[in-house]
Subunit: 198 residues, 2 copies
């Protein structure tokens, strides 16, 4: 499947459980673009209803792909070429709905466990063996996606956790969570040890 | 084993392959501390020879653990309590050498493949089954650890990569790399889907 990610700045929760709009941060643009490029993600949607912030993201992405940035930082330009700026999740879904009208598989992520949760190995199997269609992985900024958004998802992944006995803490940055989840779904974990590649 | 991580700001390489000292960034302090806490890491060494930067890190860590920070952000305080500031890798190693004189197992990471590479599953098995001793995972800022540092490591992990056919790009942020590598070594990947926990 073609896999996309979306970093959602609205609607998301704050610490108190209110629905808010968070600010886009420069580091999220870069880190998630680089992780997306590493795992062969087809596009990275930055979702914010604030027009000035969409303009800012477009400027930053264009800067790194421009003449100066491109020549000095080709790897960064390649990653940032994945960035797509939209005002709502619905716009992201529409952008990758196929010509036949089939919408993407919506995959929710959360630091809490939800009813519709499926395991990482099962979703990995599906994403890497089905040839048709698109999947959109949703990541919430702030204190996470709202219940309404998660209820719209076809599947919701379990929270990222350490093996039993090591932690019980669940407060990763969204940058860390995106990297880990892409690796669980699309990483080469069993690569054998070997000599340097030529 | 007791597992520690070190974020090395010197000696590391720059884009041109020169040995340099990079600047400590606030986001690295926070993101790596939160990832370390999530995976039950025993301590997070920030390694820099620059005294002013060591002082800055100590102030930041203390701020979040202080009266104000502690009450408003207990989760952040818990993560930042893992931070230990040292001027060299040798100081980090000394700090976790056991009373009998046994140094930590040094584990190198790199975006390139090295001779002494072992796979993630083998190291995961060792870290999670051996009861004695300590391991220190080294992460380089800038363009990575020097050859001299990697040659001192008992094991060097393979670069983080996507499954075959997806990418071939290898330019993750150090924040993403640390999160992914801790998850590969210490994450609960097979957690079954299930109802919400009580």
């Amino acid at each position: 499947m073609d896999i996309y990610i979306a970093l959602v700045h609205h609607p998301v929760l704050n610490r108190a459980g209110d629905v808010v709009t968070t600010a886009v941060t420069n580091i999220d643009i870069h880190d998630l673009a680089r992780a997306a490029r590493t795992y062969g993600v087809s596009g990275y949607f930055l979702v914010t209803p604030i027009e000035q912030q969409r303009a800012m993201v477009s400027r930053i992405a264009a800067h790194w792909q421009g003449t100066g940035g491109d020549s000095l930082h080709p790897l960064r330009a390649e990653a940032l070429s994945l960035v797509r700026v939209v005002s709502s999740l619905a716009d992201a879904e529409r952008a990758i709905t196929d010509p036949g009208g089939r919408p993407p598989l919506l995959v929710g992520t959360s630091a809490r466990r939800h009813q519709t949760t499926v395991g990482y190995p099962a979703l990995r199997e599906r994403l890497t063996t089905e040839e048709e269609g698109a999947a959109l992985l949703l990541f919430g900024t702030g204190w996470g996606l709202t219940s309404e958004t998660l209820e719209r998802c076809s599947v919701v992944l379990p929270p990222v956790e350490a093996i039993a006995g090591r932690a019980g803490y669940n407060h990763l940055s969204v940058r860390s969570a995106v990297a880990i989840i892409l690796d669980r779904l699309l990483g080469a974990h069993e690569a054998p040890a070997g000599p340097p590649r030529s």
